[in-house]
Amino acid sequence: MSNELLFGLYVFVLAGFLGHHVIHRVPPLLHTPLMAGTNAISGISLVGSLVAAGAEYGTLSTILGFIAVTCATINTVGGFLITDRMLRMFKKRKDDRVARGGRS
């Protein structure tokens, strides 16, 4: 087994444990933003797409890379924006009245 692979597996397993710890503490209140947020983060496959689209490996690679860049960008940009939009809505009772600006 190559060192690179072994190293990658270490990183994967440790990140998985870390993820378990961190995600476990997310309250059900924020489960939808969690899904949207992890989705934005998994858009990191964008970095792989960028290389495929820009390295001039050949026409097929470039076309696939272009589509992949587009899809991954939709996820990252859209994912972070919609997570922010959702999180902006969660307010405590106190700041509630201020935020509503006296409406109704």
């Binding site: 990183v11 994967f12 924020l30 989705n39 990191i44 495929a52 899809c71 996820n75």
Partner: protein, 460 residues
């Protein structure tokens, strides 16, 4: 040197972003940090020497940003499950296409290990792509929400899985067998479709979480193939998050993972419920008018609202909030009881109520509020069904027996807003509707709530 360092920064930012989600107070800032990390990683990649031309990159980035932004800014909150399903589809497709491109480009020089990683990436990527599109179709109503089943379904699905696995092994043994590699991708495509069509709409929270997990694992596989640690870390985080959520959702329904995936719930459940003892209760339903419901609410000093998917369908969250405000103005204490699987995705109800400006300290989990029903004057059930069905506690013959549900029947009075007497999504009779302290107000939830608030305003 700069590029790997930018990936390290990105990894740290992603972990901080997820950590911040443990409380709504700092979550927004965490999300911004996550976005910053992504920007750093992208810039760090763009300066790589491998990248010769930006001719295709720049249009892709612009097009993706435009689509992503418009999908996020204008989409109504009630459509959030559909939105999330679509983004899983994009994530899966991106991973799969990168995998195909990489395999095609590497050609003969490919190592066995890289082949294995690319194979998994392409298989999981296409599976996530089609599976998420199916989930989207079901949520959107393009496809029937009820399970689509046929004879030998589970056996043939498992057979497909095994074939894909065999193909993967064959390709790894001889990476030049490109036809087999692409065949595996096609099977991933098919498996995504076939695995999701037998799953009913009410089980969507589990499926969406699981697809979230697959999208993450596909990204992690990309990381192994490209030897890129930020991809491995982000993929592992996303993978565990999705897995953990889907396990939590299954638990909240008291069903095993396997049962959700292979049980075709709803289809098999309907005839089983028909033979149960609950049948015939329909004649005892206590139908009430809006005026009677208003009378109960006027007298109530405490009210608990139990929202369900029906609230999302009729977009009643703002009207619910308005009603709660009126009652609070009269001195009543109002709380909201949120079941983990209410709606079509984890946390669906919380987001809708937050959108309607309900403060989050009024939203309570199953365990935190279930003892309070016995001390509560009135419960308002808005478009929820299975999560308030006492049969889950009392009737071993019920398909949802054992599922943790709200003890709404212990409250002094229960007002149920429902479109019709038809059983809910899973086709299960609800014993609650026949209880003497239950009042059924039929009609569109939003319209009924409007009438109630008008009455309360007029008399108050």
């Amino acid at each position: 040197m700069i590029t790997p360092f930018s990936y390290l920064i990105a990894s740290v930012c992603f972990i901080i972003a997820l950590q911040a989600l443990s409380s709504p107070k700092h979550a927004r800032r965490g999300n911004a940090i996550g976005a910053f990390g992504m920007l750093v990683a992208v810039v760090g990649t763009l300066i790589l020497n491998d990248i010769i031309t930006y001719k295709w990159i720049v249009p892709g980035l612009i097009l993706g940003s435009l689509i992503g932004a418009s999908m996020s800014i204008w989409i109504p909150m009630t459509k959030m499950p559909e939105r999330i399903a679509l983004s899983h589809a994009f994530g899966g497709l991106a991973a799969a296409l990168v995998g195909v491109s990489e395999y095609h480009h590497l050609g003969a020089e490919i190592s066995r290990f890289t082949t294995a990683a690319l194979g998994l990436e392409v298989f999981l990527g296409f599976l996530t792509f089609t599976g998420s599109l199916m989930a989207f179709g079901k949520l959107q109503g393009i496809l029937p929400g009820s399970p689509i089943t046929y004879k030998g379904q589970n056996a043939s699905n498992i057979a497909l899985f095994v074939i894909a696995l065999v193909l993967l092994v064959l390709v790894v043994l001889d990476p030049s067998r490109s036809l087999l590699f692409y065949a595996m991708g096609v099977i991933g495509f098919a498996v995504g479709i076939l695995f999701v069509i037998p799953i009913g709409g009410a089980d969507m929270p589990v499926v969406i979480s699981l697809l979230n997990s697959y999208a993450g694992l596909a990204a992690a596989a990309t990381g192994f193939a490209l030897n890129n640690y930020v991809l491995i870390i982000a993929g592992a985080l996303d993978g565990t998050s999705g897995l953990l959520l889907s396990l939590k959702m299954s638990q909240a329904m008291n069903r095993s993972f396997a049962n959700v995936l292979f049980g075709a719930f709803g289809k098999v459940a309907a005839p089983a419920a028909g033979t149960g003892p609950a049948v015939g209760a329909a004649t005892n339903y206590n139908q009430a008018t809006v005026e009677e419901a208003v009378g109960v609410m006027e007298a109530a000093q405490s009210l608990i609202v139990v929202p369900g998917y029906g609230m999302a369908v009729s977009q009643a969250q703002h009207t619910v909030r308005e009603l709660a405000q009126i009652l609070e103005g009269r001195g009543a204490a109002v709380k909201y009881a949120i079941h983990p699987v209410a709606g079509r995705m984890p946390g669906h109800m919380n987001v809708l109520l937050a959108e309607a400006n309900v403060p989050y300290d009024q939203l309570f989990d199953l365990d935190d509020i279930n003892d309070e029903f016995a001390r509560t004057d009135a419960v308002l059930v808005v478009g929820a069904n299975d999560v308030v069905n006492p049969a889950a506690k009392t009737n071993p013959g019920s398909p949802i027996y054992g599922m943790p549900v709200f003890n709404v029947e212990q409250a002094r009075a229960v007002i149920v807003l429902k479109r019709s007497f038809n059983p809910g999504f899973a086709g299960i009779e609800n014993d609650l509707f026949g209880k003497p302290n239950t009042m059924m107000v039929l009609g569109d939830a939003k319209k009924t709530l409007r009438e109630i608030t008008t009455h309360l305003k007029g008399e108050g």
